[in-house]
């Protein structure tokens, strides 16, 4: 551990100063994001760029702590995601939305892989980039829908259905990628994927049928002491994540499954007590990702990131449009569903981190950072556009309709008022 090494006194002081400075800066950024009404993730990533290698403040003492914290951040992000879904919701989404899930994967993962190959990246990097462009950010999207007051909209179940399926698919994709990155042979990869498929199926079925029993093993029946519950759930999550990592099945997926397995009041209380921890460690996770990227590499990464954002935003809009149409939503709602799905976020960064840590493709880090950043900014910019469409969904800019109504003379004289 950092704190125990070297000449401790001055080291501890440097460590505290560095960590304090980072967290304080993130706090300021959080306020700025709230004032600008944009999601805070892009700001965290940018902040990371300005710390560390090649940034304005070089971090020495806190690097190791940040690395460990960012891994805990990933685990907390995933366990919270699992806690938010019940096994029943996952199963019913899987039943009703499976075709959309497949379409979503094809439309959004394939362009990422193709662009990577065109850029001359290797196969492993292409598979990674496919994951990066595939998954929309449930965190950013839920926040945006809430902030825009759109949660009651008719298209929202279609949007959330796509997100649920993506998260489920990640439970298979992440183990696959982890095994590939570990440079395992074909058999290792097959085993990892089989273990993942088996674990996911078993956990979901167990949680759907015997959710309460599973919950009772991890946490006390009545959540009398939130402290005991916090420690119990956090401990179980880290434990399972660690074991999953040992088995090369991805720590993140282990955490996700723990979240799904928990249900009822225990899950609700766990969400409450883990939220502040998730906010802290997830922020550290995003910063650390930025930290590993030096600002100088961003500009060269920009063209590729722009190509990715343009292509995969179009394909995401298509996915949302089709998903909403399938649910019988009218045209404006289809466009709203489309633009809602544009933001990429936590999962893209999680996927890229795996590959960057494994030393695959140097440009992957900066490209992903730019890509996530741009996709969120683009999404924020275009969210309101569908509401400007005319009711039938054709795009008629407001100034055109106004001018036409002035120029076009009435075809017939207005009829005399009756009476």
């Amino acid at each position: 551990m950092v704190l125990a090494s070297g000449d401790t006194a001055s080291h501890t002081a440097t460590f505290l100063v560095e960590l304090g400075a980072i967290l304080f800066a993130l706090g300021l950024l959080g306020r700025a994001a709230a004032a600008l009404r944009i999601p805070v993730i892009p700001l965290y990533l940018v902040a990371g760029l300005f710390f560390g290698q090649g940034g304005i403040l070089d971090l020495t003492a806190s690097e190791q702590f940040l690395t460990v914290s960012s891994e805990i951040g990933v685990i907390l992000l995933l366990v919270m995601l699992g806690l938010e879904y019940s096994a029943g919701e996952l199963l019913s989404s899987l039943k009703s939305q499976a075709p959309i899930g497949v379409l979503d994967g094809l439309l959004n993962a394939v362009p990422g892989a193709l662009i990577a190959l065109i850029a001359g990246w290797g196969g492993l990097a292409a598979i990674t980039l496919a994951g990066v462009t595939w998954v929309s950010s449930s965190g950013v999207i839920a926040k945006m829908l809430g902030d825009l007051g759109r949660l009651g909209n008719r298209e929202v179940p279609s949007i959330l259905g796509v997100l649920v399926l993506e998260d489920l698919m990640m439970a298979l994709y992440l183990p696959l990628l982890t095994a590939l990155l570990a440079a395992g042979g074909a058999s290792t990869v097959v085993i990892a994927v089989c273990v993942a498929v088996g674990a996911v199926t078993v956990i979901i079925v167990l949680a759907a049928r015997y959710g309460n029993a599973v919950t009772r093993i991890i946490a006390p029946k009545d959540a009398e002491s939130t402290e005991a519950l916090l420690l119990g759930v956090l401990g179980a999550t880290l434990l399972v994540a660690g074991i999953a990592d040992q088995l090369k099945v991805s720590a993140a997926v282990g955490a996700f499954l723990v979240g799904i397995a928990l249900s009822g009041t225990v899950a609700e209380t766990a969400v409450e007590v883990l939220s502040p921890l998730r906010d802290l460690f997830a922020a550290v996770f995003f910063v650390t990702f930025g930290l590993r990227t030096s600002p100088g590499t961003l500009l060269p990464a920009l063209p590729m990131a722009i190509a990715l954002v343009v292509t995969t935003s179009i394909t995401k809009v298509g996915t949302g449009w089709i998903a909403a149409r399938r649910a019988g939503v009218k045209r404006r709602g289809r466009w709203r569903a489309g633009v809602a799905l544009i933001p990429r976020g936590e999962f893209s960064v999680v996927i890229a981190t795996l590959a960057v840590t494994a030393g695959v493709e140097k440009e992957l880090g900066p490209v992903t950072a730019c890509y996530v950043l741009l996709s969120i900014l683009l999404a924020a910019a275009v969210q309101q556009l569908p509401d400007k469409l005319s009711v039938d969904g054709s795009f008629v800019p407001a100034f055109l309709t106004r001018r036409r109504s002035v120029r076009t003379p009435p075809a017939q004289p207005a009829p005399d008022p009756p009476g």
Partner: protein, 163 residues
């Protein structure tokens, strides 16, 4: 009435319930897992929100009361105009009553008299909206709402000697 409420499950967020109004507009209530309630007013198309507000627990309760309270008053006033005046009285519970030490449900007061017992006063404490399982005691004051006739009926019922 025939009001049709459409429910939509929002995985990971909560549930949305939507209602068509008499003038063709639609309103919805989103209940989020964390207790936040969003009231949504739909646009003319009926699919997207024209306006939405978020309420926390206390605010949602306050709005529910605002919407619910006038209804109660209206019902009481309707009753008043229809029949004799509705009045409230504190009826004493004799110690030697048949119903002392027995649950409120045993009196069948509402079925027998049409009057409702809305609260019980005991030793300075008010027990509002007692259920049928609430055990009455001698010396209680039973707050009853009803017509003159109904109240007299309840008073007589409570005074029934054991037997």
């Amino acid at each position: 009435m025939g009001l049709k409420i459409v429910s939509r499950v929002l995985p990971g967020i909560g549930v949305c319930q939507e209602l068509g109004l008499h003038d063709g507009r639609r309103v919805g209530v989103v209940t989020r897992r964390n207790g936040t309630r969003d009231i949504v007013l739909y646009d003319e198309e009926g699919e997207g929100a024209a306006a939405a507000v978020s309420l926390n627990d206390d605010e949602a309760d306050a709005v529910a009361e605002l919407l619910g309270a006038p209804q109660l008053v209206m019902r009481l006033t309707n009753q008043q105009s229809k029949a004799a005046a509705v009045i409230t009285e504190q009826l004493p519970m004799p110690y030697d009553s048949r119903y002392a030490g027995r649950p409120l449900g045993d009196t069948h007061a509402r079925t027998r008299t049409g009057a409702s017992i809305v609260a019980v006063l005991r030793g300075g404490t008010t027990y509002p909206s007692p259920g049928p399982e609430f055990v009455l005691e001698g010396g209680d004051f039973v707050i009853t709402v009803g017509t003159r006739e109904g109240l007299d009926g309840v008073a007589a019922l409570l005074a029934t000697p054991p037997g």
